[in-house]
């Protein structure tokens, strides 16, 4: 279990850096594009497309970190109706179920991505590569929810 906890911490560190790095890159690219357009009357090729994909990077890596911080949005009726002890008991099954849903979505994303890769014309292959974040993101979410189910949590979902 100690090894799993250690690997989990490393994974969280990596995802945190990737999330922060993607957001920083998004900001930098958006600012460079403004500068290039207004002061040099030019634009960075495909910068708009890249910035929009970077939002997906921020989303998926941020969502993966949100699992560990228990920050995913929930309909928190349970917080008012159930006792903290029961909420703690419900934590592992709900995380496992979320992992299952993410696994199915990951499967759909991998199949979608493979088809895109097969049928994309050569000049659009880079865009398909950039879009790899969707299957990778769902795989990361599956791993994070599985680990959350395995490791459990002390606080309830209502703890801020």
């Amino acid at each position: 279990m100690l090894v799993i906890k250690h690997l989990h911490n490393r994974l969280i560190q990596l995802e945190t850096w990737l999330a922060a790095g993607s957001l920083f890159l998004l900001l930098a690219l958006a600012l460079l594009q403004i500068l290039a357009r207004n002061f040099f009357d030019a634009g960075i090729a495909e910068a708009d497309t890249l910035t929009r994909y970077l939002v997906l990077y921020v989303t998926f890596f941020g969502a993966a970190v949100a699992v560990q911080r228990d920050r995913h949005i929930k309909i928190d009726v349970c917080c008012t109706l159930l006792s903290p002890a029961l909420l703690r008991k419900l934590y592992r099954p709900t995380q496992l179920l979320a992992a299952l849903v993410c696994a199915f979505l990951a499967d759909a994303a991998i199949r979608y991505w493979r088809d895109e890769w097969l049928y994309a014309p050569d000049h659009e292959r880079w865009l398909v590569l950039v879009g790899l974040v969707i299957p990778v993101g769902f795989v990361l979410l599956t791993i994070q929810f599985s680990l959350a189910a395995l490791l459990g949590r002390e606080e309830t979902c209502c703890t801020l």
Partner: protein
């Protein structure tokens, strides 16, 4: 299928993350319709073509950095110097500060956490009744939702396919009217309880202005930038993020960029990730529902029982108040807006006006049991029971309901710019 929907709703009530509930719903819907689940990912990928999408993480980052950099304290000082001399001045200060701050922080509860702790002891010190102070701060956590560059407005614009510039314009008058209504109530309460208010002094006002002028300039620059045609929404968001970084990192030096930049970026990513993952998954489900003609069936059913715009608006308000009491604003926007949009258009409600009605209802829902997020956060912040806070918030909710009626049935308040 109905059983599965009931199971999913139950799972949602027991705390399964909402995006997983919607994802499971989408997968089941696809399987039931003999469709490949990869279609859901096609829609998610299409999210990357939305031109205003980049504005969401960048404005959110600006809000997170402002909160961490001490903007709440500077704003309280400024509004207190400018408005604190009025009857009920300090309560008006709280309303103005919360509204300003929420428009940047995205009403994610940060306002109550960041400002509540500062304002509550000050309000009590000048002898505002405890119940009034708690009610004010609880409901103020969602004030400012209708002001640029609120995250809720951005999300509604993206989901409904409405021009975000127009949404920003539409929110100004209804947002200001609510602040005035609450301000008048605060003034009366202040006078009734003989609350002390200070006299205006120029040197205090100037000193506060010198410390907070850059914060107060921010929304002005955004509005001028966008409506002056200098920048697009996404560019305005990038400039705002840079402005806040320079302001907090180099001018006020309240954030050490070396130590705090990565945690702030990560905090933003977590907030954005938890919201946009819902949008990504729900887009697929929404399109499946549209393919299955669900909104059309709903429309046909409504046309049988509703024959006027007035009846539709009354029902819409009741429905949205119930939604607001059950769901948070971001999930509700993604799930509910695609369903009500065609209905509203059929009954002649402008999509921009619908957006304001929608957000106004959800703003009230923030402080309504069972899941009003403001109640939970205020309960933790002030260590008071949720029911007590709800009771304290009731007079404010009453005023907000009157405001909701005005905003709903006087569309020119939202559409004055047309």
């Amino acid at each position: 299928m109905l059983y599965l929907v009931i199971v999913l709703v139950l799972l949602a009530l027991f705390g399964l993350p909402l995006f997983a509930v919607l994802g499971a719903g989408s997968l089941l819907f696809a399987q039931n319709s003999d469709l490949d689940s990869a279609l859901l990912i096609v829609e998610l990928n299409r999210l990357a073509t939305s031109p205003n999408l980049t504005a969401i993480p960048l404005f959110t980052f600006a809000g997170v950095a402002l909160a961490a950099g001490g903007a709440p304290q500077r704003l309280i000082r400024l509004f207190n110097a400018l408005l604190g001399w009025l009857p009920g001045g300090l309560a008006i200060v709280a309303i103005a500060t919360c509204a300003f701050f929420t428009s940047f922080s995205g009403a994610s509860g940060v306002t109550i956490l960041a400002l509540g702790g500062l304002l509550y002891p000050v309000l009590r010190k000048v002898h505002y009744p405890e119940r009034f102070a708690l009610g004010l701060l609880t409901t103020s956590g969602s004030l400012g939702l209708l002001f640029a560059p609120s995250l809720a407005i951005l999300l509604y614009g993206i989901v409904a396919g409405v021009n975000i510039d127009e949404m920003f314009l539409a929110g100004i008058v209804p947002g200001a009217v609510l602040m005035i209504m609450l301000g008048i109530y605060a003034g009366f309460t202040g006078a009734r309880f003989g609350v002390h208010h200070h006299t205006f002094t120029w040197h205090v006002a100037l000193r506060a202005m010198r410390s907070a002028y850059a914060d107060i300039l921010l929304p002005v620059l955004i509005i001028v930038g966008i409506f002056g045609g200098f920048v697009t929404i996404s560019e305005a968001a990038a400039c705002t993020a840079l402005y806040v970084l320079v302001l907090e990192g180099f001018i006020h030096r309240s954030i050490s960029l070396k130590n705090r930049l990565v945690p702030l970026l990560a905090d933003t990513a977590v907030l954005v990730g938890s919201i946009l993952i819902i949008l990504g998954v729900a887009i697929g489900l929404t399109n499946l529902m549209i393919d299955a003609q669900l909104p059309m069936k709903l429309l046909a059913w409504m046309e049988d029982s509703i024959d006027s715009q007035l009846k539709f608006l009354i029902l819409l308000n009741i429905f949205l108040l119930a939604v607001g009491a059950m769901m948070d604003i971001f999930s509700a926007t993604v799930v509910i807006v695609p369903l009500i949009l065609p209905l509203a258009q059929r009954f002649g409600v402008d999509p921009v006006h619908l957006g304001i009605i929608f957000l106004a209802n959800l703003e009230i829902g923030y402080s309504t049991p069972p899941v009003g997020i403001n109640l939970f956060i205020a309960s933790q912040r002030f260590e008071k029971p949720i029911l007590g806070l709800f009771r304290a918030a009731l007079p404010f909710l009453g005023i907000m309901l009157v405001w909701l009626v005005i905003v709903t049935y006087l569309p020119f308040m939202s559409l004055w710019w047309q």
